[in-house]
């Protein structure tokens, strides 16, 4: 049975259900379990749910140690940027252990953090910084865009035997959607085709998925049929679904809230250029944030971010363009 709940409620429900299912799941962080009335403390006790000092290195390092010792900690890191003070623990410790031990140990832990809070939070709390984690071997990265995926990916993250960075988008926090009530798992590495189409493939993540859908709606009125794909996890990245789509549409546009050189879109563009070149009938277009930090004032914030208008324009460019000599390429 599904019912409507918000994105954030879905995430917390995912954690709650996993904690009920498996006693080894712990929840620690600076904003959890602060009071006895906290629903997690009430349900699971103050040992499994703990408020921590502002010591990210110790918090995440401890999670790694507890994971080695058989627990499945979830660390609520609040904002993605706070991971940066503990970068060693995020990209150079737990994620290496399984490999360096020749498969002898596992470090199942989840780092939950919000990102992309482009709502006047200025330069240090607004980043879409997944690009710096997605290529790190041993680390998985989930970027849910809907409440249902948020719950399902969280449950999968907790059951996964690897460190998982679960990045939820702050601008989606209160967006509501249908979410299955009981156990709900969304597999990693399986993109969702969120809107089928045949003229152009449009890949987006997180908050930009919804902007892409709005753009697709607008373009449909012009007779352009857009297929919108949400990879849902960017490590592992489901390149196959995107390639299959591009094979049908021959055109690819990408939306990303990150700056281009730190984006998922650049990686997908490279994958498609490498493995799907023959399918392409036009150059790939990327609609990403402009190369600047996020300013405080709204006009400047808006200026650098992708929006529906920019996505529509980007898709039109792919649709209108043709690669000269395309037939030769396709025939090869």
């Amino acid at each position: 049975m599904a019912r409507e709940i918000t994105y954030i409620a879905a995430i917390m429900e995912g954690i709650h259900q996993e904690m009920a299912r498996d006693d080894d799941v712990l929840l620690i962080g600076q904003s959890v379990g602060g009071s006895p009335e906290d629903p997690f403390v009430a349900a699971f006790g103050p040992d499994r749910v703990r408020v921590t000092p502002i010591s990210e290195t110790a918090e995440i390092g401890m999670a790694a140690g507890a994971a080695l010792a058989g627990k499945r900690p979830v660390v609520d890191c609040t904002m993605a940027e706070f991971l940066l003070v503990a970068m060693d623990q995020v990209v150079n410790e737990a994620n290496r252990f399984h490999y360096m031990s020749g498969g002898r140990v596992t470090a199942p832990l989840v780092l939950k953090a919000g990102y992309g809070f482009t709502a006047g939070w200025a330069g240090q709390h607004t980043g879409s910084i997944y690009g710096m984690f997605m290529g790190v071997p041993g680390l998985k990265v989930a970027l849910p865009s809907t409440p249902a995926d948020a719950k399902g990916l969280m449950a999968t993250a907790i059951r996964d035997d690897n460190p998982v960075l679960f990045l939820h988008h702050y601008l989606l926090t209160l967006e509501a959607g249908d979410v299955p009530e009981g156990e709900h798992l969304v597999p990693f590495g399986q993109a969702a085709v969120v809107r089928p189409g045949h003229d152009v493939t449009l890949v987006a993540t997180g908050w930009t998925v919804h902007r892409a859908l709005e753009a697709a709606e607008e373009l449909a009125a012009e007779g352009v049929s857009v297929e919108v794909i949400d990879p849902r996890t960017i490590a592992p990245l489901d390149v196959d679904t995107i390639l299959a789509s591009v094979e049908r549409t021959g055109r690819l546009a990408l939306v990303d809230q990150a700056t281009k050189h730190a984006s998922v879109s650049a990686i997908i563009a490279a994958e498609v250029a490498e493995a799907g070149f023959a399918s392409l009938r036009a150059p790939i277009v990327q609609v990403t944030a402009l190369d600047a930090p996020i300013a405080y004032a709204k006009p400047m914030e808006d200026f650098v971010l992708p929006d529906v208008g920019k996505i529509v324009a980007g898709v039109r460019r792919v649709v209108d363009a043709t690669v000269s000599g395309h037939n030769t390429a396709a025939a090869r």
């Binding site: 040992d47 010591s55 110790a58 390092g61 140690g65 507890a66 290496r96 020749g102 002898r104």
Partner: protein
């Protein structure tokens, strides 16, 4: 000079045997490094065997041990089979980590050696995590983390001390203070000479002992260990040691004075314990600790050499 009398002679004999196993292992590793059979950056703990032996020989397999870049001795003392440890250093498929970790990343889960790290201090918080897990499992197991004096100036050290103390975690922080971090003396890193003084602000027991006096390390650690097992929380044990070799194998070691023969008698924990044993009469001169250890290490080398190089990624990782 010695306080060895208070520890049972059976224990002391065992510690001597353990120290010889580490010494023989590491001397052989040094030779194999020069012969290019062991690869990568190698840090030997020669001179520090006393700490490894006195701490690890009091632990159980379900107690977690973490270590840093100078980790061979801790792994051996915790029970890692010498052949598999040697094979790991040689990058063989039969190694503790199937050749994927090497010297700075030894792991032996079966004996509770949860791992070494090449990042200075990098796994101190991990030990807290193991301690937290042990407590939640309702067990009286503890976690021990070995680190050098260099790690103490890193932020995560204090983050961890605060948390361990606040949450009364069964974790024992064992610092091997050899007065140097790489080629830099401690005085260039901090105004606080004793690591135990760095944790002075925090309400946890702290003790500094002469790490070359194995019996002292044993006695101090056993007290702190018992507390931790009883659920009375963490402690810091600082062991003053001397690195008898360079920072790494191949280090020209020109930044400090060489150890005189006389000094060596004092700074070598093995020589010291043997002298004490002879004085006290529990060693007769007919013991074969050293030769037994060297023979065992030779066997380990033979075994490691016969282990094939991994041809591909191990099964579990595929």
């Amino acid at each position: 000079m010695t306080t060895a009398v208070s520890v049972d002679t059976q224990v002391l004999r065992d510690l001597l045997a353990t120290m010889w196993r580490i010494r023989a292992f590491e001397e052989r590793v040094g030779a194999l490094k020069r012969a290019d059979e062991v690869h990568g950056l190698i840090h030997l703990s020669i001179g520090g065997e006393g700490v490894a032996a006195a701490v690890c020989r009091q632990l159980r397999d379900d107690d977690a041990v973490y270590s840093g870049h100078r980790a061979h001795g801790h792994a051996v003392a915790k029970g890692a089979p010498l052949g598999r440890a040697m094979a790991e250093l040689m990058g063989r498929g039969g190694g503790l980590c199937q050749g994927m970790g090497g010297s700075m990343h030894l792991v032996d889960v079966a004996h509770g050696f949860l791992g070494a790290t090449g990042v200075v201090g990098g796994n101190i918080p991990l030990a807290l995590g193991s301690a937290l897990a042990a407590r939640q499992q309702g067990s009286d197991a503890v976690a021990v983390v070995f680190f050098g004096d260099g790690a103490v100036q890193a932020g995560l050290f204090t983050e961890s001390v605060n948390l361990a103390t606040l949450w009364r975690l069964p974790v024992l922080l064992v610092c091997e203070n050899n007065g140097f971090a790489e080629f830099t003396p401690r005085s260039a890193h901090t105004t606080v000479e004793r690591v135990s003084d760095v944790v002075a602000p925090y309400p946890l027991p702290r003790q500094t002992v002469d790490g070359n006096e194995v019996a002292d390390v044993w006695t101090a650690f056993s007290g702190l260990l018992a507390r931790a097992r009883r659920g009375e929380g963490p402690a810091l044990l600082e062991c003053l040691t001397h690195r008898l070799r360079g920072h790494y194998e191949g280090d020209p070691d020109r930044y400090r004075e060489a150890v005189s023969a006389e000094d060596r008698q004092r700074k070598d924990p093995i020589l010291r314990l043997q002298r004490a044993g002879h004085e006290a009469g529990w060693l007769t001169g007919s013991e074969s600790f050293e030769s037994d250890a060297r023979a065992e290490v030779e066997e380990a080398v033979t075994w490691a050499r016969s282990s094939p190089f991994p041809s591909s990624v191990p099964e579990e990782l595929r």
